[in-house]
Amino acid sequence: MERIPILKMGTFLLVTIQVDMHDKLASTLQDDLTAQIAKQRSRGVLIDISALDVVDSFIGRMIANISAMARVLDAETVVVGMQPAVAITLVELGLPLDGIHTALNVERGMALLHSRLELHV
C-alpha cells in the first residue's frame, strides 16, 4: 500500500510529501503520524512540502488537521519548503494556515523548533 514515510530525527519527526495526496493517503498519514508522535514522544513535526507544485484546499485542510492533531499530542508542527506559487495559491484560497509555523527549509525549520522548545521546557 502507498505510504508516506515518516523519518525520526532526534526528538522530531520529518514528513516529506512528494506525491499527490488523496483521502486514503491523507488518513493513513494522519494515523501513522499520530501513532509515531505518541510512540517516539516527539516534540516537533516537520512537514516538507517543497516537492509540491500544486495545492488545493484539500491539502491545505489536511496540513491544518495534522498540525492540530500534533498540537493535542504536545508536538509543534512546522511546514517547510513551501514554493512561492503554493503560498500564493493558499492565500488566494483563503487558507493562510494561521497558527501553523512555517520555515523556508528543513534546516530553518529545525532551528525554529529548537528555539521554541527551549523556551517551553
Binding site: V79, V80, M82, Q83, P84, V86, A87, I88, L90, V91, E92, P96, L97, T102, A103, L104, N105, R108, G109, L112
Partner: protein, 296 residues
C-alpha cells in the same frame, strides 16, 4: 459580364503603368515620410501589394475581404500597417498607402470604359468599396499594434515599479510606489516570494510610503502579501505609514491583525536588525555624551 471583370483586365494589362502612377502619387503626396521609409522599400511594398490585390480580385469575391482568397492581401496589409505604426507613421499616413491607389487605378478604368458611363460607375463603386475596406483594415491593424505597444509598456512599468531590495543579510525591503491593485499585488507577491527563496531572507519590510491611498482593497492586498510571506517562513513588517493613512485605516475599520507596522523604513529596519541579531553602533562619538545607537 461578371462583377469587377473590367477592373481585373485593367489590372492585368496595365499593372506596370498603374504601379508607376501609384508610386508617383505616393512619392508626391504630403503623407510621404522620406525620413521613415526609403523609396526602394516603398516600391517593393507597392509592387507586392498590387500583385496580391490583382490575385484576390481575380477570385471575383469582392464582397468578402475576410475570405480565404483575400488572405494574402490581408496579411500583407496588416504586416505593413504594423511596421509603419511601430516606425512612427500617423494613422492617415498609414491609410493613405491603400487609398492612394485609387486615382491611378480609376484613371485606367476610365480609359478602358470610355463611353460606358454605367459600367464605369458600377465597377468604380465595387472597387472603391473594396479599397475602403482594406484601408479600414490597415487602421485596425495600426490601432492593434499601438495597443500592443501600450500593453507591453504597462507590463514593463509593473516590473519596474516593484523592485525587491536586499537591505541586509536576511532582510529584504519592498518599496511600493503607486496604487496597489490585484494584478500588481500578484506581481509584488511573486517577486517577493521568489527573492525570499533566492536569498533565504527571514524578514521582509514592505514600505508603503509611495502608496497614495490605502482603502480596504489595498489593505486586503497587503494582508495577502503578508500571509503569503509568512507561509514561506519569513516575517513581514509594514512601514512608511503616513499619519493620514493611519487615520484612514482606522476609520475604514481595517484590521491589520498581528502585522508589525512602523512609521518609517528606518524604524522597521531597526526592528529587523534586532530580530536577526545585529546591532548598529556609532564608531566615533560625535557628541560628548554620545551614545551608541543601540538596537533593542
Amino acid at each position: 459580364m461578371p462583377r469587377g471583370s473590367h477592373i481585373i483586365s485593367v489590372l492585368k494589362v496595365h499593372e506596370v503603368a498603374i504601379l508607376a502612377d501609384w508610386i508617383k502619387e505616393q512619392l508626391s503626396g504630403v503623407t510621404l515620410r522620406p525620413d521613415l521609409l526609403n523609396e526602394a522599400t516603398l516600391r517593393d511594398e507597392s509592387r507586392a501589394f498590387l500583385n496580391e490585390f490583382r490575385k484576390a480580385m481575380q477570385s471575383g469575391l469582392l464582397d468578402d475581404i475576410k475570405g480565404d482568397s483575400w488572405k494574402g492581401v490581408r496579411d500583407m496589409v496588416t504586416a505593413l500597417s504594423r511596421s509603419r505604426a511601430l516606425a512612427g507613421f500617423t494613422p492617415s499616413e498609414t491609410a493613405t498607402f491603400v487609398l492612394s491607389l485609387k486615382p491611378s487605378l480609376f484613371l485606367r478604368l476610365r480609359i478602358e470604359l470610355k463611353g460606358d458611363a454605367e459600367a464605369f460607375a458600377d465597377e468604380f463603386w465595387q472597387c472603391s468599396v473594396v479599397l475602403d475596406k482594406l484601408a479600414l483594415l490597415t487602421m485596425e491593424a495600426y490601432q492593434q499594434s499601438r495597443e500592443e505597444v501600450i500593453g507591453r509598456q504597462q507590463s514593463d512599468l509593473l516590473d519596474l515599479s516593484t523592485p525587491v531590495v536586499e537591505l541586509w543579510e536576511d532582510v529584504l525591503a519592498l518599496p511600493l510606489v503607486g496604487t496597489l491593485d490585484s494584478a500588481r499585488t500578484q506581481i509584488v507577491m511573486e517577486s517577493l516570494l521568489k527573492k525570499i527563496v533566492d536569498t533565504g531572507a527571514t524578514i521582509a519590510i514592505i514600505d508603503i510610503t509611495g502608496v497614495p491611498t490605502v482603502d480596504t482593497l489595498v489593505a486586503q492586498h497587503l494582508l495577502k502579501t503578508v500571509a503569503a510571506t509568512r507561509l514561506m517562513g519569513a516575517d513581514c513588517i509594514i512601514s512608511g505609514i503616513r499619519p493620514q493613512i493611519a487615520q484612514t485605516i482606522v476609520h475604514l475599520g481595517v484590521d491589520l491583525g498581528t502585522v508589525v507596522t512602523k512609521a518609517t523604513l528606518a524604524d522597521a529596519f531597526r526592528v529587523a536588525l534586532a530580530r536577526t541579531g545585529c546591532r548598529v553602533e556609532r564608531l566615533k562619538a560625535e557628541r560628548p555624551a554620545a551614545e551608541t545607537a543601540e538596537v533593542h
